[in-house]
Symmetry: C2
Subunit: 199 residues, 2 copies
């Protein structure tokens, strides 16, 4: 593909880092931006800077937040007896939309020794510490994608929880195997939440 002026090529190259974006799509984005009022590009640059400056991890559940603790951890109306462990911050939105009203713990991924994701690289220790600090919690819902890594993570954590005489549960096997939690419809996910079972 032809090389464009440097400021255009730079942004095209950076856009291709985004998931699912190739050089043609990246070019389309940049040309689209160039046709917008100058304010649009400025807003996007500012939003990126702010994203990087303002967003940190919740000290309790490790999701993204702009404060010390995230909104859900600060919400006194939440069920304090149940924690839903998820792989990624984006999963919280999905579980919330299915009607769950407990609190969360974000592991940062699921076990995958091939990719170098071992228990130490995930927020499993902080989850165990949290369970010691919060004796009100009686159940942990292990809500991972129903794939090999997710199943391995469920097995690994449920064993640790049983040793501590805590209830571990998993989403009902209502989700099609190999699919992605992010794209499950709310009804199926709601069923899977309601019919979660102990492991």
């Amino acid at each position: 593909m032809r090389e464009y002026p440097k400021p255009i090529q730079n942004l095209v190259n950076l856009f291709t880092y985004l998931p699912g974006v190739g050089p043609k799509t990246a070019l389309r984005y940049v040309f689209y931006l160039l046709k917008q009022p100058k304010g649009t590009i400025e807003s996007m640059a500012r939003a990126l800077t702010e994203l990087q400056l303002a967003v940190t991890s919740c000290t309790v559940c490790k999701t993204y937040t702009t404060q010390d603790m995230c909104e859900i951890c600060r919400d006194s109306k939440r069920d304090r007896t149940v924690i839903c462990a998820v792989a990624h911050p984006r999963d919280i939105g999905t579980i919330e939309s299915a009607g769950f009203r407990g609190r969360y713990h974000v592991l940062g991924g699921t076990l995958s020794p091939i990719e170098g994701i071992t228990p130490d690289t995930l927020e499993i220790n902080s989850l165990l510490k949290r369970l010691t600090d919060e004796p009100a919690v009686s159940e942990v819902v292990l809500a991972f994608n129903p794939d090999i890594e997710g199943e391995a993570t469920i097995m690994y954590i449920s064993k640790l929880l049983k040793e501590r005489h805590l209830k571990a549960s998993r989403l009902a096997r209502g989700l099609p195997a190999g699919s992605d939690l992010e794209f499950a419809d709310e009804v199926t996910l709601g069923d899977a939440l309601n019919r979660r079972w102990e492991v």
Copy 2:
């Protein structure tokens, strides 16, 4: 969909302005960026700022450039007798890759009265002025998408060129009708360039 912390939601909203990007894809982009080393977000913010500051229109052919005149207009090895009129700057890359080595003129779109794109809103006057200023030019290739708007633009401009006793040509009808020039393969486009005809 659940509302995320403001800096995240802001960028999600801005990303949904990009062509073909909905809220889920935008969210995916933002969460992806949050997982990258901080330098990535910073580079993107800087690239956007630079894009907006550094990129202007070529004074001659109206394509995007960082200088007064674009690289192609400054290239002394180009065939000075032929100008290829295109709708968008991105079309230049496509025509270049098919082997054209003349110069260009970017109209900024094709005629579409319904969308308010009339001859006055396009760079047609600047093209005519350029043809007066550069008597060496003997032919204008009208390289627009073979759709209704493109055909109308070819008809409109070819009439103006004939009045000025200049040769107007169009890409050979080798392109499938209704398709998009951007996605044509180089061989088909090369044929269409070689077999362009006078109108």
